[in-house]
C-alpha cells in the first residue's frame, strides 16, 4: 500500500514530479562536475606546469662531473614519474680562438624536457651540432662546417640547425653526448629533472636523490616550484569559491521547486489525514517520497556530472577528467538532505492546520 501510494503519486502528477526531478538532476550534475573538477584540476595544471621544464637540478659539487652511474640513479629514484636530461659543459675555442661554451646533450630527452626551445632542425647524425643563435656568427656564420678545440683535441662539426631560447642556450653550441664525451672526455655535470607530482612527492624525490647521490648537489628550481604552487593555490581557491556558489544556488533551486511541489499537494495531505493517517505515517510518506526523488536525481545527475567534467577536461585540457566515484556518496547524501529538508519544512507547517480548512481550499 505504502509503495503503491508512492508510485501512484509520482505517476499521476507526472509533470510536477518530473520538473522536481529535473531540478534535482541539474543540481546533482553541476555539483558532481564541480567536485570532480576540483579534485582533478590540480593534476591537470601540474601537467601544464611541467612544460616549464626541470624543477630539480642535480649538479656535481663545485662544477665537477657527476659519477658515471648518476643518470641511472636518478632514473631509478624517479621510476617513470618525470623526465630526465643530462648535460655536460666545457669552454672550447673556435678556429679563430674565440671562447665558446659547448654542451653535450641527449637531444631526444631535451626535446621532451625543454619544449620551449625553438629549433630550426634537430641534429640527426653524429658530428652534427645545434648552434645557439647568438653563437652562430662566431662559430659558423655561413652555415659552413667548423672546428672546435678543447685542451688540444679538435672536433670537426657540421651545423644542423639553430636553437633560440632567449637565455644562456643562445650563446652555446650543442653536440650529442656521445660526440662530446669522445671528444673532451668530460662526463655530464648537470642532470635536469622534471619530476611530476604533488609538492610532497617532489620533496620526497628531492630527499631520495640527495641520499642516492651524496657526491652531487640536488637542488629545486625554486622559481618554478614557487610559481607553480602559487598559481595552483589561487586557481584552486577560485574554483572552490565558484563551486560553493554554484552548489548553494543549485541546492536552493531544488529547495524552492520541491517545497512548491509538496505545498501543492496539501489536498492529498489533508485527505490522508481526514481518512485517519497518523502523523508518523504522513511524515514517513513524504520523507520516503523526497528521499526516493533525491536518490534518483542524484544518481542520474552524477552520470551527467561526470560527463560534463569529462567534456570540460577534453575541451580545456585535452585530457578527460577521470570519474571520481568517491564523489558519489557526497552528492547522494547532499541530495537527500536537501530533498528531505524541502519535504519536512512544508509538512511541519501544514500539520498544524485542520484538514477541513485545507480541503475547503482556504
Amino acid at each position: 500500500m505504502f509503495l503503491r501510494m508512492l508510485v501512484r503519486a509520482a505517476v499521476l502528477r507526472r509533470g510536477r514530479a518530473l520538473s522536481a526531478l529535473f531540478a534535482m538532476v541539474v543540481a546533482a550534475a553541476v555539483t558532481t562536475a564541480m567536485l570532480n573538477l576540483y579534485v582533478d584540476v590540480q593534476a591537470k595544471l601540474r601537467r601544464e606546469f611541467r612544460n616549464y621544464g626541470a624543477n630539480i637540478v642535480v649538479v656535481g659539487r663545485d662544477g665537477a662531473s657527476l659519477p658515471a652511474d648518476a643518470l641511472s640513479h636518478v632514473e631509478s629514484v624517479l621510476a617513470g614519474r618525470g623526465l630526465v636530461a643530462p648535460f655536460a659543459l666545457v669552454v672550447a675555442r673556435t678556429g679563430n680562438g674565440q671562447a665558446v661554451v659547448v654542451a653535450g646533450a641527449d637531444f631526444d630527452r631535451v626535446r621532451q624536457l625543454d619544449t620551449w626551445w625553438s629549433v630550426s632542425r634537430w641534429p640527426s647524425a653524429p658530428q652534427q651540432a645545434l648552434i645557439g643563435v647568438r653563437a652562430l656568427s662566431a662559430v659558423s656564420p655561413n652555415h659552413q662546417p667548423f672546428d672546435l678545440s678543447f685542451q688540444g683535441h679538435t672536433i670537426h662539426l657540421m651545423p644542423a640547425g639553430t636553437v633560440q631560447t632567449g637565455a644562456a642556450e643562445d650563446s652555446r653550441v650543442y653536440l650529442s653526448l656521445a660526440d662530446f664525451v669522445s671528444w673532451t672526455g668530460v662526463q655530464p655535470s648537470t642532470i635536469e629533472v622534471a619530476a611530476a607530482g604533488s609538492t610532497q612527492e617532489i620533496t620526497a624525490i628531492l630527499q631520495q636523490l640527495g641520499q642516492a647521490m651524496p657526491a652531487a648537489e640536488v637542488r629545486p628550481v625554486r622559481q618554478i616550484m614557487e610559481g607553480e604552487a602559487r598559481v595552483l593555490g589561487k586557481t584552486r581557491a577560485t574554483l572552490l569559491s565558484a563551486a560553493a556558489l554554484i552548489i548553494l544556488t543549485a541546492a536552493l533551486c531544488v529547495l524552492a521547486t520541491l517545497m512548491g511541489w509538496v505545498f501543492d499537494r496539501r489536498r492529498d495531505f489533508a485527505i490522508m489525514k481526514a481518512l485517519g493517517a497518523s502523523d508518523r505515517l504522513l511524515n514517513g510518506f513524504f520523507a520516503a517520497e523526497a528521499a526516493a526523488l533525491g536518490a534518483t536525481g542524484a544518481v542520474i545527475g552524477f552520470v551527467f556530472g561526470i560527463a560534463i567534467a569529462a567534456w570540460i577536461g577534453r575541451v580545456n585540457f585535452h585530457a578527460p577528467v577521470a570519474p571520481r566515484f568517491s564523489v558519489l556518496p557526497f552528492v547522494l547524501a547532499g541530495s537527500m538532505v536537501v530533498t528531505l529538508l524541502s519535504a519536512i519544512l512544508p509538512i511541519s507547517m501544514l500539520r498544524r492546520v485542520q484538514p477541513a480548512v485545507i480541503l475547503r481550499g482556504e
Binding site: V101, T115, Q164, K234
Partner: protein, 421 residues
C-alpha cells in the same frame, strides 16, 4: 487599473514576492560575481605567474658571446658592449609601460674577495634591489625584489645607494660569514647586510648595488643586461609575424597588443643599441597555463549562469503556479488571456529589475571579497555590465514564468477556482 493590479499584487503578497525576489537576487549575485571573476582571472593569474621570473631580456645589440658555466662568468669583464643605465627609465615611457611590472639591470664583475684569511675569486653581481626611479613626473620602484621574488634574504636587503652587499648562501657557508660581517673586495671594505638564497648561481656570488659594480669595473652607467617582467598576452600566429612586413593598420594592431614580441620590440625602440628577446621558457609556457585557467573559469562561469538561471526559473514557476485561483478569478470576471498574461509579465519584469539591481550590488561585493581573499587585490566589475545583466535577468525571469503562465491561463476557471489541478 493595470498599474493598480500590479501594485496591489506586490502590496498584498509580500511573502511570495519576497521569495521570488530573493531567488532572482541570489541568481544574479552568483552570475555577477562569477562573470567578474572570469573577466579578471587572466590578469590576476598573469600577475601570479610573474613569480616565475622575468619574461623578457634586454642585451646590448653588439654584444660578444656570453661565456658562463654554472653562474661563473668566464668572459673578460670589460669585453663586449654595455647598455647605459641612463636609458633604463625610458622603459616606463613605452606604450605598454603599465604592463611592465618591474625590471632589474645586471652587471656581473669578476672580483677577488677576502674574508678573514680566505681569498676567493668570484663574481660580484650589481643590480637594483628596490630602486626609486623617476621618468617624467612618475616615480616608481623596481629591482630584483619584484622581478626575482623567489630570492630570499636572511638579514636585511641592502639599500640601493649604500655600499652594503648580500653574500650568496653557499659562499657565506664556505667563508663562514654571516650578516653584519665586513668583507674586503679588491681592497674595498663592504658591509654584509644579509645572506641571499636563490637556489641558482647567485648562491656562489656577491650581490651588490649596481653603482658599486660599476665603480669596481671603472665604467659608470654600464649595464650588461636587463631582466624585464611584463604582463603579456598568449602568443598566437599573428604575434609571430615579422613587424617589418606589416602594413600600417596591421602593424598598429600588432604594436598595440601586449604580445611578448611587441613589448620586446618596444623595449628595443626605447633603449638605444639594445636587443630585446623573450625568455622562451617563461614567456611561451605562461600563455598555455593562462589559457587553460581562463578556459576553465569561463566554462565554470557558464555552469554558474545555468544554475542561477534554473534557480530563477524554478522560483518563478512555483510563484505563478501558486496563484492559479487568482488567475481563475480574473478570467471568470472576463479578463482575456492577454490581459492576464500581461499582468504577470509586468510583475515578473518588475521583480527581475529589483532583484537584478540588488543582485548586481551583492555580486560586486562578493567578487570584491573573492578578489581580496584569494588574490589580495580588487576585482572590479565594469558598470557597463549592469544593463546586460539586468536584461538577462528579465529574459530568464520571463522564460521561467512563461510556461507556468501559459498553463495557468489555459485552465478552465471553474477548475482553478475549485482548487482542482
Amino acid at each position: 487599473m493595470f498599474a493598480r493590479l500590479v501594485y496591489e499584487s506586490f502590496r498584498r503578497q509580500k511573502r511570495r514576492k519576497l521569495l521570488a525576489g530573493a531567488a532572482i537576487t541570489l541568481g544574479v549575485t552568483v552570475a555577477t560575481a562569477m562573470i567578474g571573476v572570469a573577466t579578471d582571472i587572466g590578469d590576476k593569474i598573469n600577475r601570479e605567474l610573474r613569480t616565475i621570473g622575468a619574461n623578457l631580456l634586454v642585451t646590448p645589440q653588439e654584444d660578444t658571446l656570453d661565456v658562463e658555466i654554472g653562474g661563473v662568468n668566464l668572459k673578460p669583464p670589460s669585453d663586449g658592449a654595455f647598455l647605459n643605465e641612463v636609458d633604463l627609465p625610458k622603459i616606463e615611457g613605452t606604450f605598454w609601460h603599465n604592463n611592465i611590472t618591474g625590471f632589474a639591470p645586471m652587471l656581473p664583475v669578476n672580483v677577488t674577495l677576502q674574508h678573514d684569511d680566505v681569498t676567493e675569486n668570484l663574481t660580484l653581481l650589481g643590480t637594483y634591489f628596490a630602486k626609486q626611479i623617476s621618468f617624467g613626473k612618475e616615480v616608481f620602484t623596481t629591482g630584483v625584489r619584484s622581478t626575482h621574488s623567489w630570492w630570499k634574504v636572511s638579514g636585511t636587503w641592502p639599500d640601493d645607494g649604500s655600499r652594503d652587499v648580500l653574500l650568496g648562501e653557499k659562499l657565506a657557508t664556505r667563508l663562514s660569514a654571516k650578516a653584519g660581517d665586513e668583507v674586503t673586495v679588491l681592497g674595498r671594505q663592504m658591509h654584509v647586510s644579509g645572506i641571499l638564497s636563490t637556489g641558482g648561481g647567485e648562491d656562489d656570488q656577491i650581490v651588490a648595488p649596481i653603482a658599486l659594480a660599476q665603480e669596481i669595473l671603472g665604467k659608470p652607467g654600464a649595464v650588461r643586461r636587463v631582466y624585464v617582467s611584463a604582463l603579456t598576452k598568449p602568443e598566437d600566429a599573428f604575434a609571430r609575424r615579422d613587424p617589418r612586413s606589416m602594413s600600417g593598420a596591421v602593424y598598429d594592431r600588432w604594436y598595440c597588443s601586449p604580445y611578448p614580441q611587441s613589448i620586446a620590440f618596444q623595449l628595443q625602440e626605447a633603449i638605444p643599441h639594445s636587443h630585446a628577446e623573450q625568455i622562451r621558457q617563461v614567456a611561451q609556457n605562461e600563455g598555455v597555463v593562462l589559457t587553460r585557467i581562463e578556459g576553465l573559469i569561463i566554462l565554470i562561469t557558464l555552469a554558474a549562469l545555468l544554475a542561477s538561471a534554473l534557480a530563477v526559473s524554478a522560483a518563478m514557476a512555483t510563484a505563478v503556479f501558486e496563484r492559479r485561483a487568482e488567475i481563475g478569478l480574473m478570467k471568470a470576471l472576463g479578463a482575456g488571456k492577454f490581459a492576464v498574461a500581461s499582468v504577470f509579465f509586468a510583475e515578473a519584469t518588475l521583480l527581475a529589475l529589483i532583484g537584478g539591481l540588488a543582485g548586481f550590488a551583492f555580486g560586486e561585493l562578493l567578487a570584491r571579497q573573492i578578489g581580496h581573499a584569494i588574490f589580495n587585490s580588487r576585482i572590479t566589475i565594469p558598470p557597463v555590465l549592469l544593463p546586460a545583466i539586468l536584461g538577462v535577468a528579465v529574459i530568464i525571469t520571463f522564460a521561467g514564468s512563461a510556461a507556468a503562465i501559459r498553463k495557468a491561463v489555459g485552465l478552465d476557471p471553474v477548475f482553478a477556482l475549485r482548487g482542482e489541478l
